[in-house]
Symmetry: C2
Subunit: 339 residues, 2 copies
DNA sequence: TAATGCAATGTAAGCGCTTGCATCTTGGAA
DNA sequence: TTCCAAGATGCAAGCGCTTACATTGCATTA
């Protein structure tokens, strides 16, 4: 009773000598309230340290000004700066971001999505386009405004801000081929539950095939995104009877794991075998030799995704369409020219 | 009107032929409802795809089963796995995590905290113990259950799950001294708004001073946590008239930045100058030479923080006290013995 | 001067849920 | 058979806020 309870709208109203409606308006639509009232309300709010109660607000307005994002993992830097940019853009517009992670598990993703929606998220940002039917049905039945990132799905109705994983993988493959490599292997992410991983595999496949009989994709080994797993995959590849002169990796962490293991095994990179990465996170410049990799426009993608989602939320019909951001091969030292 | 609107408790009640109270009880206190009713309710819920409305629930129960975390940055892996562990533990207990980042800005932190609280967070996890008076007052006035991590404040009343940054810095310094280095420099995080950074500086100071006149801490250069800034700091240090034989860095990213720059400058690490890091994130094993650094028990800390916060939330009086987790120096190759 | 319009504010009905209390069953115990 | 306790359920009052609609008080216009 006597505890300095958190003040409510009513407390403010009483203290300011007006109705709660006026306070609410003063906060949300100041132009609908006379200047002096506005000022008085401001003072009382400050004096009382009033903060609007989110649940009440959400319940009454049916809008939470909150958006959710479900990313596969927080554990590496892969999504970090994209997410950061996404959040920054949202903040500018007065939206709040809720982040959850799925661990590359589609069922977990569904759970997280439901949680976010039930938390009142007005919209969602999701990574990739592959998900369970239950998830798709849920999203559709509830008509949840959604933007996809890190991908460029071909579904007509999906709104996305991403890049073409297949094309990007083709591009780096082209680069590898141009360096004279014909015996190629790939260390990919686990393609089963990760469309980016499988598209990158496809890109490598397509491009090597295009090159004609001279080039061969010897093997594709899948591994979870860790240094350890990348190293194991590397070892597995190097134990095969026909060894590649270049290994294309679906991710920088995998590539670094491979290079690290090569070092332990006394195999020279890129002397004996070249290695390329994907993503261009910090680790790519740190590794020795520095990684030739594909730069993913993380920040631009995060920003673009936010802009699109917000336009969807505000205008119902998005004024901004889907966008494919350009990727770029960054040449460093882990890819050698084959003599 | 005809739109398949998201179903409410009332819809479920109607369909199941009972009152909303029963549904609510069936969901939250199944033991208070007869088994057959429970089952019928379950079926209806599944059939309708009902999800409880979070705002309504929060408003009515005054508990959101949500906790917030404000971390300085998402941009590097420093907090990632600790946060992940924190979230996992929360999920087990049916809590949801909301994450926000402050960019190492105390005012931004205050804003984010307010947002989280207004979002209905029942409790908070915060990094470090240094914050503005406004923040402290807010937290105290609202009596917000809070657990601190990555630090071990000496305030009597603060609940924390962290480690002793000073002691950890002393330990790595001792290691450096034991390797025969007497001319030492430090590249630290920006200490102004980051208590972990300043405590690590203090640890290095204290330990070198302890060593007597033979050892000297030549300089401490502060830098934001990026490869670039670490490199710049390195250059600045190496330009000074008296050069150190070892540089202790307050963070792995800084250390890697230094090593990278050394490479560009043709300075040998650890031949000419040794470099140590702090945190032991992925990048530390990837860099060549692999980084001698301080392992921070991220996952254990995240889990411990969650346990403590939850006990605080459930029992009012925490059954679990603050805890100091042990850190450990990991010897790799970036620290050489001085002949 | 009376009618009119508009700006400022108040009134009160919910938003979807929880929960204290009241009501109704039902299976013993007396 | 009667009575009571305990279990199962319903009723209805909010939780803190927004907003459609009603009201009030002026300034404006003919």
């Amino acid at each position: 009773m006597n505890v300095p309870d958190t003040p409510t709208l009513e407390d403010v109203a009483k203290a300011a000598g007006v109705s709660t409606a006026t306070i609410s308006r003063s906060i949300n639509h100041p132009d609908k309230v006379s200047p002096d009232t506005n000022e008085r309300v401001q003072q009382v709010i400050n004096a009382l340290g009033y903060t609007p109660h989110f649940a009440g607000k959400t319940l009454a307005s049916k809008r939470s000004r909150t958006v959710g994002a479900v990313i596969p993992t927080m554990a590496n830097a892969m999504f970090a700066s994209g997410l950061q940019a996404f959040q920054e853009e949202l903040n500018v517009q007065g939206y709040t971001l809720l982040v959850a992670s799925s661990g590359y598990d589609h069922d977990a993703e569904y759970e997280q999505i439901r949680k976010l929606i039930m938390q009142g998220a007005d919209g969602l940002m999701l990574i990739g386009h592959q998900r369970t039917k239950a998830t798709r049905d849920f999203l559709q039945a509830r008509r949840i405004p959604t933007v996809l990132a890190w991908c460029n799905p071909d579904e007509r109705d999906a709104l996305y801000a991403g890049f073409d994983n297949v094309a990007a993988a083709q591009e780096i493959t082209r680069e590898v081929l141009a360096h004279g490599h014909t015996h190629i292997a790939m260390i990919a992410g686990v393609s089963g539950s990760n469309d980016r991983a499988s598209q990158r595999i496809e890109g490598v496949r397509v491009e090597t095939a295009k090159h004609g009989v001279s080039a061969r994709l010897l093997s594709v080994v899948e591994a979870v995104y860790s240094l350890e797993a990348g190293g194991d995959a590397f070892e597995q590849i190097m134990r095969q009877s026909t060894q590649p002169t270049a290994i294309i990796c679906g991710n920088d962490v995998l590539a670094c794991g491979a290079i690290l293991r090569a070092r332990q095994l006394g195999i020279e990179v890129p002397g004996t075998v070249s290695v390329t990465g994907f993503d261009d996170i910090d680790i790519a410049q740190v590794i020795e030799p520095a990684l030739t990799t594909v730069k993913v426009p993380q920040r631009a993608m995060g920003k673009a995704a936010a802009e699109r989602l917000l336009s969807l939320l505000d205008d119902q019909i998005p004024t901004l369409g889907s966008i494919n951001l350009p990727t770029r091969v960054i040449l460093r030292h882990s890819l050698a020219t084959l003599k």
